[in-house]
Symmetry: C2
Subunit: 200 residues, 2 copies
C-alpha cells in the first residue's frame, strides 16, 4: 500500500469497522445495533454481511482485535516517547485523562465495556478480549524488563498498570471527572518506584 493510503477514501469494510469501534466504546456490544452501525458507516446493510458473513459476532471479534491492537500501540507509543519508564507511566494516565476530557468522557478503553458484557455470555468474544488484554500485558512487560526488572515483577507491574487504567476509566466516566485517573497515576508511579528501588 502507498504511504499516503490514509488520505484516500476508505473502503466500506474499513468504515464499518471504524463506526463499530466508536459505537462499542460508547454503548458496548449489546447497545450497538447493526442498523446504526451501517448508518454511521454510510454503508448499505447488505455490505455488512458480505464483509462479515459471521454476522455481529464476527464483526465484534474483528473490532476487538483491531481496536485493541491500535490502542495498545497508542499507549505503548506514549510509554516509549518518555525519557524514562516512570515518566512513561505517568504520561499514560495524563494522556488518557486529556483524551477523556476532549471527547466528553466517551473515548476511554475501546474494549472494556464489551469485555464485561460478553465475559459471561459469549465465549468467542470473551476469548478475543482476553487475547487483547494479554497482548497489552506482554507489551508492557517487555518495557519493564528492559528497565532491569525480573520477569515476574515486570508482569505483575504490567497487570497492575492495566488494572489501574481500566478501573480509573470506569470511575472517571461515571463521575465525569479525571480524579480517578490522577489517583491511578500516582498509585502506578508509587508501585513502579518501589519495584525500581528494590533493584538497587
Amino acid at each position: 500500500m502507498p504511504p499516503d493510503a490514509q488520505t484516500e477514501p476508505k473502503g466500506t469494510k474499513d468504515r464499518i469497522l471504524d463506526a463499530t469501534a466508536a459505537l462499542f466504546m460508547r454503548y458496548g456490544y449489546t447497545g450497538s445495533g447493526l442498523k446504526q452501525i451501517v448508518a454511521d458507516a454510510n454503508a448499505p446493510f447488505g455490505s455488512l454481511y458480505h464483509h462479515f458473513p459471521g454476522g455481529k459476532q464476527e464483526l465484534g471479534v474483528d473490532v476487538i482485535h483491531r481496536s485493541g491492537a491500535l490502542y495498545g500501540e497508542l499507549v505503548m507509543g506514549v510509554f516509549d516517547a518518555a525519557p524514562d519508564i516512570l515518566t512513561g507511566v505517568r504520561d499514560c494516565f495524563e494522556g488518557a485523562a486529556a483524551v477523556l476530557v476532549a471527547t466528553d468522557y466517551a473515548d476511554a478503553c475501546p474494549i472494556e465495556t464489551v469485555a464485561l458484557e460478553v465475559a459471561s455470555s459469549n465465549e468467542t468474544l470473551r476469548l478475543a478480549t482476553a487475547e487483547v488484554f494479554e497482548s497489552w500485558i506482554a507489551a508492557a512487560t517487555v518495557r519493564f524488563r528492559a528497565a532491569g526488572l525480573d520477569e515476574p515483577t515486570a508482569r505483575t507491574l504490567s497487570i497492575s498498570f492495566v488494572n489501574l487504567l481500566e478501573g480509573a476509566f470506569i470511575l472517571c466516566r461515571a463521575a465525569r471527572t479525571t480524579e480517578a485517573l490522577e489517583a491511578s497515576g500516582k498509585a502506578a508511579a508509587t508501585v513502579v518506584e518501589a519495584a525500581l528501588r528494590n533493584l538497587a
Copy 2:
C-alpha cells in the same frame, strides 16, 4: 413488619430486585431483558410496572443503589474484620478472587458493567452509578483516615483501591484467572504501605 421478616418468603418486589441485580452483574443493563427478569423472579409481568412505574430505568436506579450499598457493606465488612488496614486491603482482593472462582467468574462488582454501558447513554443511570462509587470512596476514606492519614492522601488511596479492584475484575473475568486480582492486591498493599511509611 415483624423483626424476623427476612426469614419469611420474599415479596414480589424484592424478588424482582434480586433477579435484576443478578442479571445486571452477568449481562449488564442492555443485555438483561424485562421478560427474563420477571421469569427469574417468578413474578408476573404486570407486577413489574406496578412496583416500578418508571419502567426499566427506575428498576435500574433502584438496583444500582441497592446492590451498590450491599456490596459496599460487604467489602467494608472484610476491611473492618482485619486486625490492621494493610491486612484488610489484602483480604479484600483475596476474598474477591475467592468469590469470583466460586461463581465461575460471574459475580464481580454488581454495577461496573452497567456503569460503563450507561456512562454515555443514560444520564439518570450514570448519576446513580456515580453516587455508588462516591459512597464507596467515602467509606474507604474514613478507614484510611482512622489509620492516621490526612484527608487528601486517604481519598487518593481509596480511589486507587476501588480502581485496582474494578480494573482487576475486568481482566479476571476476561481471562478466567485470578492473576489480575493478585497483582492488584500486591499493588494496593504497596501503595498503602508507602503512605503509612510517610507517616512515620
